[in-house]
């Protein structure tokens, strides 16, 4: 009889056991979606490219090494060419591959499957744009085997030549999708760059084709003339004015400020104008100087010599002016810089590409008016008074076959201020001439970035033994 009393207790336990499976099936994330529309991916990817990449670490390194911008910190640091695997890790392992390329990859797949042609086109254009940034700093990089978790955890690195072929294919495919019947699911205000204007996206795709054709002028097995031809062919469908500029706008509100505004805040450690750049503008009496830079505490334009020791008060140097996003330490209430757009590609750049390509095809005389048109486009973009612009342009020496590339690239260097293209052009053409930074950590300006910590750790590949002294494939030097 006593044992009978145990039975209900045991029964209770067994009862509690039944339906356990269902009881435990509650592991569905209520906080975050597992799938989102292309529109919701596109917006943050555009901001990632602008804020984290072009206006982020890539932008900082480029402008330090090209001595447009200087960091008032003691050497050794990034400015004096001290750059480690860890320094570039966030760019490779977060901003570029997962945040940008992987999200674009998924967005493109989604758009292609649903025949959302505009999203497929925009995705491919941005993927080409970003992939080029990746290969330009690292050379051989994964692409054909990328984005295959869990099937392939060790994607091989494609040669840079193959990557450039992929880039052109992506742009061709983008143009193809733009020419298809537009989907009713169409980008609009989610596309910060063009607001869903597919005509402009098409021009941007062609402009980029030209940019990337011209990149290969010195590449082994490629000729400047052929690349110039291809570039000019693409440019015929490219940008037509500054209205076509590809840029990401910022509202300037808190948590919506322009990247270079954030980059130049006092907490960033003293980011000021570079001496070589300021001096070159001063020597040429360039009317763009006061628009690009703000005067120092003595009211003068003084750039910081790259690599020297930090000075206690960075206000002895000129700061970045508000047009490109600068925070003005001497005028802290002025937050105009916070609303500055971040330029991804400009009509100015396109005209310089056209000038250089025209020079290869048709000589200096043919290139000269385009070269001047390019300067004028940048002056117009900056709002330089037309008289000042004309005076400056008229003061430029005539292009000759001997000086054309140097003069074009030197002016392009100003027109592409803060653009990643300055570093690519410098490696490709050697212009402008840059002196080594003081206290240089290595005795050369790096020709590439080191591979990132995590790819070396998780995906060992033969290319990882290259040093920053080894040029990338298209460098040709």
């Amino acid at each position: 009889m006593k044992k009978i009393k145990i039975i209900p207790a045991i029964a209770l336990i067994i009862l509690a056991g039944t339906g356990c499976k269902k009881f435990l099936d509650i592991n569905t994330d209520p906080n975050n979606p597992l799938s989102v529309s292309e529109s919701l991916i596109l917006s943050p990817v555009e901001v990632t490219i602008a804020t984290s990449i072009v206006g982020g670490y890539n932008g900082s390194i480029t402008t330090y090494w090209m001595q447009q911008i200087s960091l008032n910190q003691p050497p050794p640091n990034n400015e004096s060419y001290f750059i480690t695997d860890a320094d570039v890790n966030n760019t490779w392992n977060f901003y570029m591959y997962p945040n940008t390329l992987k999200n674009l990859y998924d967005m493109i797949n989604k758009a292609e499957a649903a025949q959302h042609n505009q999203y497929a086109a925009i995705g491919k254009t941005l993927m080409a744009y970003s992939l080029a940034i990746t290969t330009d700093v690292w050379g051989d990089v994964p692409f054909s085997e990328a984005f295959q978790v869990p099937d392939n955890l060790k994607p091989k690195y494609d040669t840079q030549e193959d990557v450039y072929k992929s880039i052109q294919n992506l742009l061709d495919s983008a143009i193809y999708y733009i020419d298809q019947t537009p989907s009713e699911v169409a980008p609009g205000s989610d596309d910060y760059i063009y607001g869903g204007d597919m005509d402009k996206w098409k021009k941007f795709a062609y402009m980029l084709k030209a940019r990337f054709y011209l990149r290969l002028t010195n590449a082994p097995g490629y000729s400047a003339a052929t690349q110039a031809d291809l570039a000019l062919g693409a440019l015929a469908n490219g940008f037509e004015s500054n209205d076509d500029n590809a840029l990401v706008p910022y509202t300037g509100a808190s948590s919506a400020e322009s990247p270079w505004y954030i980059n130049t805040l006092p907490g960033a450690g003293g980011v000021v104008m570079g001496k070589a750049f300021i001096d070159s503008l001063k020597v040429r009496n360039d009317p763009r100087l006061p628009i690009i830079a703000a005067p120092n505490s003595d009211g003068e334009y003084v750039g910081r010599q790259a690599g020297i020791d930090a000075v206690p008060d960075p206000n002895v140097y000129s700061s970045l002016n508000t047009f490109y996003g600068g925070y003005l330490p001497l005028d802290p209430d002025n937050s105009d810089g916070a609303v500055a757009p971040l330029f991804l590609a400009t009509y100015t750049e396109q005209l310089f590409i056209k000038a250089e390509a025209t020079f290869y095809k048709s000589g200096a005389a043919a290139a000269e008016p385009i070269y001047k048109e390019a300067i004028a486009a940048h002056m117009a973009m900056l709002g330089v008074a037309s008289g000042d612009a004309t005076a400056y342009i008229n003061s430029k020496a005539a292009l000759t076959s001997a000086n054309a590339v140097e003069n074009i690239i030197n002016e392009k260097f100003v027109g592409d201020f803060l653009s990643l293209e300055t570093y690519n052009d410098w490696r490709r053409t050697g212009f402008p001439h840059l002196a080594l930074a003081e206290n240089a950590y290595v005795d050369y300006i790096p020709l590439r970035w080191p591979y990132a910590t995590t790819t070396k750790l998780a995906n060992p590949q033969p290319q990882q033994s290259l040093t920053t002294k080894d040029p990338v494939w298209w460098d040709g030097n």
Partner: protein
């Protein structure tokens, strides 16, 4: 005495007879042979179910008639039987049994068992020792007292967290801290952490800080998996089993009122800084007091410095910033018991005004417990614990909003006051940093907790050998964290910021336990237990952040120009079925088996359920040898256990790859009117449980009639299939990392406790307890093809796990060395920074030891606890900054030289040239090599020294006091360190993984406390 003590206690709890009324009440007092009261002894009438517990002063009252035999037993004393005559008052003197042979300890699920018969390691700390430690955080109260346990206090901020790890780290990226259990109910001891992350804000409280030491009867530390297997997954890291006080003690029917109060003075510990050189560079003074800016103290000597002919006042920025802290701790409790019921009500109020101005930690705790026996078969205990705490901190860590940055690096020539310029902007000696006093006035981090812990324990004993227990408990709290930084704060949010985080946590635990105990034929005692556990956890997490404030000095979210909000809700469920069998033979041999079958909602659906268990044996070899009266060795026991415990140490929703609302650098979404999502960067593989396999052997010996006792254990624990997040992936795969079952770890080590009673006499007693722990920890493997992974810190320096190294590798930059470890110097004789980064140190200590001394002479008692940690390193990133700024002590000798031992790299010859250790040396080389900031974390601390005086009964007998005890206590005096910061016991990562990393941390303090305790 065939009946075990466990059985007796069980009978006590359940079966206080209603039939006692016919007996006369007998009162008595229990003392030891020095006439000191023996608290909380158990008094039973032999052969009946009648029993009571004595109070703290040894007093008891029990209904017994002439001729009855009373059995009096107390922890640490030999049992005594007294036959009642006609007397109605009784004095009982118990003799000390130093070996605690019959000690009863609380084991898993709150089951009380005789320590003698256990087959695994436990160690008990008395509630009084926890109280006497005088720590706001109960975790710290255990420091130095328990073998096999490593405790690390994180910071000197009021309400700061402390980490407790038992038998070494066993998880790579999951929780490594012990499970906390109060009266059989698991409770949360997590650390919410700052929304800004530990690196740039420091830690928060671990929720164990909510436990009021005043309500604790005892703490049992269950160390190995064999001891905890019954608890299931969460206890595979060891468990801290807390038993709260009940109302027993004193005189039946009369309440006992107890009041205690203490006041503490806290003096901050100080780091080593230079006090000679003024602000400036290259010996040239920069006048930060008068509008010049400069971050460094490489100026002239301040003693001879003249500005306009006047000397510059010298400051001690560190000492001037801190204040003397104060803590008041007050407790009042009322308890009582009758035949069928007992109760206790306790209220404590603790307030600590920290050594950092404006900071405090205040805790109100209310505890009530009521037990009643409805019938001899049915009993019920209900208890309720309510805690309210308020905590205000400043930020610690690598953040411009952490005041310590400009406290530690401030030049001695700088007067930090006034904090603002006439135009309202901050007045600082340098650019791009905040004035620390301005931060005190203009930033605020407040943490508030309301927590309730209700428990119901219902017990039904249908048969004398069968008990069914239903135990339902909850742990519910609301934790709000509010921060603001004013407009004008230098840093990422120059226009000010407010955030508010609200965490609502609810955990419900239910156990049904059926326990059968039977003695067969006098020699065999068998216990069989089966049970079911359901554990449900809800966590609701809301964060609202506003930036760009409009109205100055107004810190409401409505004042923000941009507001972002996030909300997350987490739900987990676990179901466990368990069984335990213990067989004891002649009180000399015990065999124990446990098994458990768990299901967890967080694992992949095809791997939700997993079985595990343990087998253990204990043998008292002195028993068959009849040595219990042997004058040399009177007790000896060997024990062995093997266990395999499954663990589901991963958060919910780890199996999928969701999209997260995007935050990109400074830009938060929605941005420009559009929302946006990016795919997670961590790939979620399907997950199964991890498994901890542990083998343990132990030896317990007692010599010289138990005057010396020894308890030692060797364990070897291997954790496999570790649930690991952040396994690095090449980002080109589309994900930066993965969460997966990957890697294994081994902890093997010894734990030893040696207790001796050198002096035992009428007036003078002396007890020494030494404990020693040495654990060898090794990460055996990580995910396939992954040689190391990072889990805390910056990349360099950072805290990593490396295969074939102990957990907690410190990674960073180091000097160039040859294969023999010789420094490779440049042609001038300077060390060179190696471009290759790598392991430079390790946070895991070599060994830990504690020494407790308790001396009593008449009414005086004196005790002290020493705590020693040997080995292990700390990355004190302060070194990197302070060496650069020229404020660290090492830079004082800046006009000197140093001969670096090593080889000139170009010639291969030993270096003979001393080099200048000047500003360029420290700025360009020394401060840029992480290795130079690596410090020895060893210490020897006086954890606590207490001198107490108990007023004698002759003084109190005519007063209404039952007892009065006065004490003076000193805590946290560092006796030895080899560390340039204030206290090597520090962690920027709070109680989380990533110990061994510090940066701009509030120092701890040495404390003097005055206390009074009285009962009425």
């Amino acid at each position: 005495m065939r009946k075990t003590i466990a059985g007796t206690l069980l009978a006590l709890l359940l079966c206080i007879s209603a039939a006692l009324a016919q007996n006369d009440v007998l009162t008595g007092k229990i003392t030891d042979d020095k006439n000191l009261p023996v608290p909380y002894a158990t008094v039973t009438v032999k052969g009946t179910k009648t029993g009571v517990a004595a109070n703290e002063q040894g007093g008891f009252s029990i209904s017994a008639k002439s001729g009855d035999v009373l059995v009096i037993s107390a922890t640490g004393f030999s049992d005594k039987e007294v036959t009642i005559g006609s007397e109605r008052t009784l004095s009982v003197i118990l003799s000390v049994n130093a070996g605690n042979l019959n000690e009863v300890v609380v084991t898993a699920l709150g089951i009380k068992r005789e320590k003698r018969m256990l087959t695994y390691t436990t160690q008990e700390v008395k509630g009084s020792a926890v109280v006497d430690a005088k720590q706001d955080n109960i975790v710290n109260a255990l420091s130095g007292k328990v073998a096999g346990v490593q405790i690390t206090n994180s910071s000197g901020q009021p309400g700061s967290s402390s980490q407790i790890v038992i038998r070494g780290n066993s998880s790579l990226t999951g929780d490594n801290t012990a499970l906390f259990v109060i009266d059989g109910i698991p409770i949360d001891n997590s650390e919410a952490g700052n929304p800004d992350g530990p690196l740039g804000a420091g830690g928060t409280s671990n929720r164990g800080i909510d436990i009021d030491p005043n309500i604790i009867e005892s703490v049992t530390v269950l160390k190995g998996a064999a001891a905890t297997a019954l608890y299931g997954a969460n206890a595979s890291r060891g468990a801290i089993i807390i038993t709260t006080k009940n109302g027993r003690g004193g005189i039946s029917g009369k309440p006992t009122i107890s009041v205690s109060s203490s006041y503490t003075i806290q003096t901050p510990l100080t780091p080593d800084l230079q006090h000679i050189w003024a602000q400036g560079s290259n010996g040239v003074y920069v006048d930060g007091n008068n509008g010049q800016f400069g971050s460094t103290s490489w100026g002239p000597k301040i003693d001879t410095l003249r500005v306009n002919g006047q000397p510059v006042p010298k400051h001690d920025p560190f000492k001037e910033y801190f204040r003397t802290g104060h803590t008041t701790d007050n407790n009042v409790s009322v308890s009582g018991f009758g035949d069928k019921s007992n109760y206790i009500v306790s209220y404590s109020f603790l307030r600590n005004d920290g050594i950092v101005p404006t900071t405090y930690y205040a805790r109100n705790s209310f505890f009530a417990k009521y037990s009643i026996n409805f019938s001899p078969k049915v009993s019920l205990t209900t208890q309720f614990n309510y805690v309210h705490s308020d905590n205000k901190r400043t930020l610690d860590g690598n953040s411009l909003e952490a005041p310590l940055w400009t406290v530690l690096s401030a030049p001695i020539s700088w007067d930090p006051h006034p904090t603002t310029n006439p135009d309202g902007t901050q007045r600082v000696y340098r650019l791009a940093r905040n004035n620390p006093y301005w931060l005190l006035d203009n930033t605020s981090l407040k943490d508030k907790v309301d927590r309730i812990l209700p428990t119901i324990n219902f017990s039904y004993k249908p048969l004398s050998w069968l008990t069914i227990t239903e135990r339902l408990g909850a742990d519910m709290y609301y934790n709000s964290t509010n921060y603001h930084a004013a407009i004008g704060t230098i840093g990422s949010y120059p226009d000010g910021r407010v955030y508010g985080r609200a965490i609502t946590y609810q955990q419900f635990n239910n156990d049904i336990i059926v326990d059968a105990q039977k003695t067969f034929g006098g020699d065999f005692f068998t216990e069989l237990l089966v049970g079911n556990n359901i554990l449900t956890n809800y966590n609701d997490n809301k964060l609202d952040q506003g930036v760009g404030l409009n109205v100055p000095d107004f810190y409401n979210i409505s004042n923000a120009s941009t507001v972002t909000s996030s909300y997350a809700y987490y739900k987990t469920r676990k179901v466990g079925f368990y069984a335990q069998a213990n067989m004891e033979y002649k009180r000399m041999l015990t065999v124990g088996l446990t098994g458990r079958y768990d299901g967890s909602s967080v694992l992949s659906s095809d791997n939700q359920f997993y079985p595990y268990g343990s087998a253990s044996v204990g043998f008292i070899f002195t028993e068959p040898l009849k040595m219990s009266n042997n004058s040399i060795l009177n007790f000896g026991k060997i024990r062995a256990a093997y266990s395999a415990v499954g663990n589901d140490a991963v958060g919910p929703y780890s199996l999928t790859n969701p999209y997260y609302q995007a935050t990109i650098g400074n830009v938060t979404f929605p941005f420009n009117g559009q929302n946006g999502y990016l795919l997670t960067t961590q790939y979620g593989y399907p997950l199964k449980n991890e498994l901890v396999k542990e083998f343990e052997v132990g030896l317990e010996l007692q010599f010289l009639h138990s005057r010396i006792s020894f308890d030692g254990a060797y364990f070897n624990k291997k954790s496999i299939d570790l649930l690991t997040s952040g396994v690095p992936l090449d980002g080109a795969t589309g994900f930066a990392s993965a969460s997966q079952n990957a890697g294994s770890m081994r902890n093997s080590g010894v734990e030893m406790t040696l207790t001796g009673v050198p002096v035992k006499s009428k007036n003078f007693n002396w007890t020494i307890t030494v404990n020693f722990t040495k654990i060898k920890n090794e990460v055996l493997e990580l995910a396939p093809g992954v040689p190391y992974l990072q889990f805390a810190g910056f990349v360099n320096p950072g805290i990593f796990a490396y295969a074939n190294s102990p957990y907690g590798v410190i990674y960073g930059t180091h000097f160039k060395r040859d294969e023999a470890g010789q420094m490779l110097l440049d042609d001038d004789g300077y060390p060179q920074r190696d471009d290759n980064l790598g392991p430079i140190g390790n946070a895991t200590p070599d060994w830990l030891a504690g020494l407790t001394n308790e001396l009593s002479y008449k009414n005086f008692s004196f005790s002290f606890v020493l705590d020693m940690k040997q080995g292990g390193q700390i990355m004190n990133l302060d070194g990197h900054y302070l060496d650069f700024y020229g404020v660290s002590k090492i830079t004082e000798n800046r006009d000197g030289t140093r001969l670096f031992e090593g080889i000139i790299e170009s010639t291969g010859k030993p270096n003979t040239t001393a080099v200048a250790t000047d500003q360029p040396f420290y700025q360009n080389l020394w401060s840029n090599v992480d290795e130079t900031s690596l410090q020895d974390a060893s210490y020897l601390k006086l954890r606590q020294a207490t001198l107490a005086y108990r007023f004698g009964d002759n003084i109190l007998k005519d007063s209404f006091f039952k007892s009065i005890v006065l004490n003076v206590t000193a805590t946290n005096f560092i006796l030895y360190k080899n560390y340039f910061g204030a206290d090597p016991e520090v962690s920027l990562n709070g109680s989380g993984n990533g110990q061994g990393f510090a940066n701009f941390m509030t120092p701890t303090s040495k404390n003097i406390l005055f206390g009074l305790k009285a009962t009425f």
